[in-house]
Amino acid sequence: MTFSLDRVYREHGHVVLRRARQLLGSRAEAEDALHEVFLSLARQPQQFTGGSITAWLYRATTNHCLNRLRDARNRGRLLEREVEPAEARTTATAPELELTMRALVARLPDEVAQALVYHHVDEMGYDEIAEAMRCSRRHVGNLLRRGRDEMQSREAVA
């Protein structure tokens, strides 16, 4: 089965745009991420090996945004950005939590950051994250515990 990529873009691009907006905090940044993710797929279509295109777009968007947040050239701009106004939002994640998450995931190890994103932003349960990350539920618990410790230490410093 073969899919035309512009059709995939039209039918599934909203997923990338929403998640990137949540993670990066601005529509302009999210639109850049949207293009980067799809251009990456156009350049290397073999990245998608079948199955759920939604799953592929979730992980590609997560990795793209985490890399963007970690990039020293972007970090200051992205972390200082305010969250979008309520009328522009379609998710229930608290704005202050999004800001905290963005600051945290920029400096956490990949696995911890991903687990936090899946749990807090995507509202996945432990089992879903374990399935998604191919690890045990216990390991998910450890990753989230490390993330919680980071959040608490950050609150203590603040």
Binding site: H12, G13, L17, E36, S52, I53, H64, D110, E123
Partner: protein
Amino acid sequence: MIDEDARNDCLSSFRLDQLLADELASSAARHARDHLATCSRCSARFAAFDAERQAFAAAPPAPVPSALTSARVTPRARRPWAWLAVPAALAAGAALWIARPRPTDELEGVRTKGGGHLELFVEHASAMRAGGPGEVVAPGDRLQFAYSSARAGFLTIASVDGAGAVSVYHEESPVAPGEHVTLGESVRLDGTLGDETIYALFCARSIDAAPVVARLRAQPHASPDVDGCEVETLTIVKREAR
């Protein structure tokens, strides 16, 4: 702030998106729709996602990139795990590895912007297996690394063990674009137990590893950010062998 899996009853954004995309198996879709019928919060989220989808399809926020108009995606056929155990080859020091295909529903590990991806293999008691996040290993196991990268660059692999000791598992070497490229050396694990974090730095230019090591010693649990590098993190768990 993190509830103990308090959201099991509600549908994650991921499940809602899969439902919208008609990607769920019939039983899972039925379960999701049953939940939507009784949960005002999830049904509101689902409606909002659907509205977003329709608005995007009708008028994408930016023109469809021209590179996409002629591009096509042909999923590769799914194969069973294809990595093979070759203890004899390992014993001879040969580097013969056939990497497994990555599961399609895996939400980790794909790099964008042409970055690299680290692959881990573990030799335990003369048997080899592909490793992943949370891999349980034992003292004396041997780790072998491979990478896939869409572009040329430089790769360094460092590790912080359960006692906070930092090791460089792979001194910087140039990497060429390719899939499942095996690194020449392997690592024999010592007796320090606990979580060990492995950092793979895929860099556009050559870097000095010394500041990276110093940073890891100072902040063992923080990703060693280096300008121009993408860092992939993999945590393994070292326990006494049973």
